[in-house]
């Protein structure tokens, strides 16, 4: 059997999905995280509960949701509450096992910025904002980060979501729940984890076809590399088929997605009503 061909997004989704265990409660956003959640539920974690901060709890999307409040892609869900309910009665009570977040900027201790590049007032770029990230990142048992287009920086321009702060036990001292915090970052070339003591990020594995050097070149400090560096498995045929069935846009990645959908958009926009 020929090796299955896969996209950059698909290997991230397939590996990130494995971070979800059966029975986990998973807070999830649109895009790669949602694809990972749905893949996990369709494969090894049928009893995980997927929820979004919009108050949609126990959703089972049959299509890739456009955003976290999009219930048009489920046939019902088990509990309809609101955003305060999600944060206070679920997140703040320590019930979230896994949260997935995309990375804008991240520093060596997992502090994240999704608000602004450059000076806060004299900014270079405004990102989408903190959204639900600070509290998910703060209070979930495990935060899984995905990074496509995000950047490693010595110091984030704005701390939207505190990770391990200055490292070591700074996070616990600041009062976050013991054991919480970022656990893993899936980039396009490899996977990163955090040192159990110093909480400094290190390269834990590479995706097939990539090298440690490539990855180190993207990190502005001397990145630690695991001695027992793992080579991450490519996605299986079943996995890529499931991802493409549910979320071809995610499979294609943002750039190709645009490229592929623009002809249709232009076609409609240039059409005139009969």
């Amino acid at each position: 059997m020929a090796e299955v061909k896969y996209t950059e997004a698909e290997i991230i989704v397939a590996n990130a999905a494995k971070e979800i265990e059966d029975g986990d409660i998973v807070v999830i956003g649109q895009g790669i995280p949602m694809a990972a959640g749905v893949l996990a539920k369709a494969t090894h974690a049928p009893n995980c509960v997927i929820l979004t901060e919009a108050g949609l709890v126990g959703i089972e999307p049959f299509r890739n949701p456009l955003h976290i409040a999009d219930p048009t892609c489920t046939r019902g869900y088990m509990y309809s509450c609101d955003m305060i309910d999600v944060f206070a009665t679920i997140v703040n009570r320590g019930l979230v096992d896994v949260t997935f977040l995309g990375v804008g900027q991240i520093d060596r201790y997992g502090n994240m910025n999704s608000t602004v590049f450059g000076d806060y007032r004299d900014f270079r770029m405004r990102m989408m904002g903190a959204g639900g990230a600070p509290e998910f990142f703060g209070y979930a048992r495990k935060a899984v980060l995905t990074m496509r287009g995000g950047k490693f920086v010595e110091k984030v321009d704005y701390v939207s979501s505190p990770g391990y702060l200055e490292g070591y036990d700074a996070r616990e001292k600041a009062g976050f729940p013991p054991g919480s915090g970022p656990k893993v970052v899936y980039g396009t070339r490899g996977v990163f984890r955090f040192h159990p003591e110093s909480r400094e990020i290190y390269l834990a594995g590479v995706f097939p076809g990539h090298t440690v050097e490539e990855i180190k070149a993207e990190v502005p400090w001397d990145l630690m590399v695991a001695e027992d560096l793992e080579e991450l498995p490519p996605p299986t045929r079943e996995e890529v088929e499931l991802i493409r069935e549910f979320a071809p846009e995610i499979a294609a990645g943002r750039k190709l997605q645009l490229e592929l959908s623009i002809p249709r958009i232009l076609n409609i926009l240039s059409s005139r009503a009969p």
């Binding site: 090796e3 061909k5 996209t7 290997i11 219930p71 019902g76 206070a88 009570r93 990645g253 190709l256």
Partner: protein, 352 residues
Amino acid sequence: MLTKYMQEDKRMSAKEAVERFVSDGDSVVIANCLYGTPYALIHEIIRQGRKGLTVFQQGGIDEIDQLLLGGCVSRLLMAYNFRVAGERIETVLERALRRGEVEVEDYSNYTLLAMLQAGAMGYPFLPVMSGIRESDVYRVETFCAGQKFGEVECPFTGEKVVVVRGRNPDVAILHVQRADKSGNAQLWGALINSKWACLASSRIIVSCEQIVDRDTIMRSPHLTIVPSFRVCAVVEEPWGAHPSELLGFYDYDMIFRSLFFMQAMSEEGGKAWMDEWVYGVADRREYLQHYADRFGLRYLQELRAKPYPSIPADYGASGRRAWDENDMSFNFQLTRDEFLRALEEKGGFVNG
């Protein structure tokens, strides 16, 4: 940290649920107030002889009296307990208080529930309406002394705000119209304290009139008052709230309640009632059988609800999948094969 309950099937008998999830000395909240009271579970707790419970009681009719007659309760945080008779008749609660069997801490309805809301939200405290400060509800304390109310200064307005402490009972018992076997519980009608009482608690035992399939829940998620992962046991118990009422099922049974009130006016009468209706039956089925034997089923039938369904919410969407029946993508206007070819051609595959 809270325990999640992820088993897909949590159905069990009331007996098993109480055996496994209610212990001597627990704090317990009755998560229906006046309406839909979980009598089947309450009677099972009494039958199993639980002792030393601390009970959060929003507004009771006779359930606290029954728990007291069962010797289950040592502390009551209470806002309201119905009293049927005048001063000359000593109530069950008065007898228990005079004997020192139980202590009461008085709250108002709102301040009691605010403690549970705070607990449910994971907050150490919540503000309440500060007027309570001028009442003896605030000033007179018993076993909550020092922890009953507090005061903080608002950092924005400088005003002194009364706050209550977040509370997390060990167990909530709730009766609802329907639930699925994994515990998604749906309640409608008077919602009073149900959400906050349940979500505050570590363990939630749900009894329901009907176990329904998962699809019924998924199609009406707005009715779910507690999601499955918080629920540790689901007990199917028709008439589980009798003699209180439950929309869609039955009205309250005033006659039967009167029987309790009349008997409970004397110590022996109360005991006789308990012997007959709690200890004398093994479970709710026997209770109903005994009711039928004693009065005839027709008195229960008279309480039966006539259907009056709500106007549905339409949860419909286009229902469009990523690929339609011709294997065509709506967003790309490509077939699956064309899509894969495009990925190939445009260098989308990293191992291509």
